[in-house]
Symmetry: C2
């Protein structure tokens, strides 16, 4: 079985319901799989988060089981048909994935072919590290290393610099340039409305927004929805 | 000797030269002290950073020595009349302060009365932790704990939510609320143009911008320049 990932920048885009803009992409990705194990670890109230996601994805035809609702998370993961990790705070998510030992077990299952869907922080953790998150470091995880299922970094909710801004803080592009002062992995600036579908050694950009690709020492490049980004899977 | 701190949100505000808006506050704070030891560790090119700061602060009457220019940073720190830490990436700054053992030595000297000025990341590190930085976690420091010279957190470059935004990512206020889910220290949202002057157990807000104070479980409060914020020094 090859590696299968659906990496969503943002569960919502402005003016639309939860996952509405990518509903068909989600249905295509999951095909006959209808039972998803949901990881709510990026949120503080895991029970409320699982309930929200259940209420939103049941109308898509999915049954949702929350990792917070099972007695043995590792056993639930071992028998899951597919996993979805929602967004929230990336530091909290990574901290909890290590604390529960779900990090290593999840990685193993996805490498063995279990399909994985992530949104925002849940997409970020498929990268080598959390180093391109936008989130506040409200808790220190034991490591910044994450699942390493792809060899590039994602910056979710990528935001273009606002030419009218009077704010002196760094733009997102400035921050990614800082990342490249110390790190070499390419960074996919995944705008809200963009999602990446990985099938083995193939990767395509789906959704309604283009991505901006930052590579160390090179000018950023733009790619439109539908683009073949498979070259980014070759580390 | 009491503790003396000048904590600046941002070295520049829109349309003005480096430190122009707070020049008089800086001169008042330093008084007869004219030799500053500059810590350029938040930048990648430390030599260029020290040169830039020297060229900007010499016209104010200061002599600048960069910690990158001395053979023995700890010896230079031991004999410094005052220290200024500039902004940049907070994770890089904290990482380097630990790596060089400057963190502990600097804390000791400031607690013993040596005046300290910080801007942006340089202000952030006077707090108990780096957990309210806006910066990208491009390198993992050995700890998120910082100088702990004040018992509250600063969020530099604090930015009010933009009511016209269509972006779905968290606002700064959302992120500070997340911080308070796991941490109890008050957070001073220090807007660009605001600076805090600490003299022993007294603290005043100076500059041209108000602050927004976030306390766990309470509604945010606003304070205008000139406000007495000494109550925040009582942990």
């Amino acid at each position: 079985m090859h590696k299968r990932l659906l990496l969503i920048s943002s569960s919502r885009i402005h003016g639309q319901e939860y996952m509405a803009y990518c509903r068909q992409d989600i249905l295509d990705f999951w095909g006959p799989v209808k039972e998803l194990l949901f990881i709510p670890y990026a949120a503080f109230d895991q029970a409320a988060y699982t309930e929200m996601v259940r209420s939103r994805l049941e109308p898509f035809g999915f049954q949702i089981r929350g990792l917070n609702e099972v007695a043995d998370p590792l056993a639930a993961l071992a028998e899951a048909q597919g996993v979805f990790t929602g967004g929230g705070n990336t530091f909290l998510l990574v901290h909890t994935l290590y604390q529960t030992a779900v990090m290593a077990a999840l990685r193993e299952r996805v490498l063995a072919g279990m399909p994985y869907m992530g949104s925002s922080a849940g997409s970020n953790i498929t990268c080598p590290t959390l180093k391109t998150t936008n989130d506040m470091p409200i808790i220190m995880p034991p490591s910044f290393e994450t699942l390493g299922l792809v060899p590039f970094q994602i910056n979710p909710h990528y935001l273009d610099p606002d030419p009218t801004s009077t704010h002196m803080g760094e733009t997102r592009a400035d921050r990614i340039r800082e990342f490249h002062q110390l790190n070499s992995a390419p960074v996919v600036g995944l705008r809200e409305g963009g999602l990446l579908r990985v099938e083995g050694d193939q990767m395509q950009l789906l959704g309604v927004s283009g991505v901006r690709l930052f590579r160390s020492g090179e000018s950023p490049e733009e790619f439109a929805p539908g683009a073949d980004l498979s070259f980014l899977l070759q580390a």
